[in-house]
Subunit: 147 residues, 2 copies
């Protein structure tokens, strides 16, 4: 399905004027394997392959990749920062109020749905982010039982 290789990630990094390093490749692999992973999970996953990578390196890498537009950072209210590789396709997220699980949702309307705000108070708007809130199927089935 997604057989992206390290060579592909190299091209991505170079195209963004970023040096190719082992920590960065490991972070990209980790985020691909676990979409919506938080920094801690990425750190754990990275260290499974590269045991010497520091937590600060992961913060730096995720920041650099986010600035370069190679990964997307989301942060639903009440959650820590989470990262994903799907970028530039205007998709949104459903978040479970009870367990915090996140899933992707393709935009209902198709393209830049509610993008044009009626009155944006002088703001120059460049993105509309939609977050759906609800309860995931696990939490619906098994009410009030923390993971």
């Amino acid at each position: 399905m997604d057989d992206t290789t390290d060579a592909d990630y190299e091209h991505l990094l170079r195209g963004a004027d970023l040096r190719v390093t082992r920590p960065r490749l490991a972070v990209l692999r980790a985020v691909r394997r676990q979409p919506h992973a938080d920094t801690g999970s990425v750190l754990t996953a990275v260290r499974a392959e590269e045991p010497t990578v520091s937590h600060q390196a992961v913060y730096d890498v995720l920041g650099a990749l986010t600035d370069a537009g190679l990964v997307r950072r989301i942060q639903p209210a009440g959650s820590v920062a989470r990262y994903e590789l799907r970028v530039g396709d205007n998709h949104h997220h459903v978040v479970c109020r009870s367990c915090g699980a996140v899933a992707d949702v393709d935009c209902a309307v198709g393209h830049t749905p509610c993008l044009t705000a009626s009155d944006s108070h002088g703001f120059v708007v460049d993105e509309a982010e939609v977050t759906y809130w609800g309860t995931c199927s696990d939490c619906t089935t098994r009410p009030s039982s923390p993971s």
Copy 2:
């Protein structure tokens, strides 16, 4: 424009089965005066009227009022929690990427716009939150000049 009195707030609180206390009234007044204020600002504003109120009380009160649906908590990525009195009218927010300023935006489509996600992966969705990202007029005029 908004001449809500303490008596009105009393009714609101009692209607939500919450006791009427000086800290709660002070918090409601503070949030009315400064929509989108963060907890720290609310604390400062409250202490101008009630100097002995603890920071924990403000956290408790804002939590209780949020649970009761009397105030709404928003938390754009990269920001601390902010609170507002406008509740239950399905409005959204524009957030300035550079200075973090927040303004209200009435829903472009009118009512529950993108609410129906195309495929919600088994989630039971009860709310669609829209956040517009951009640059406020101040930051457009005066580029890269921190407040």
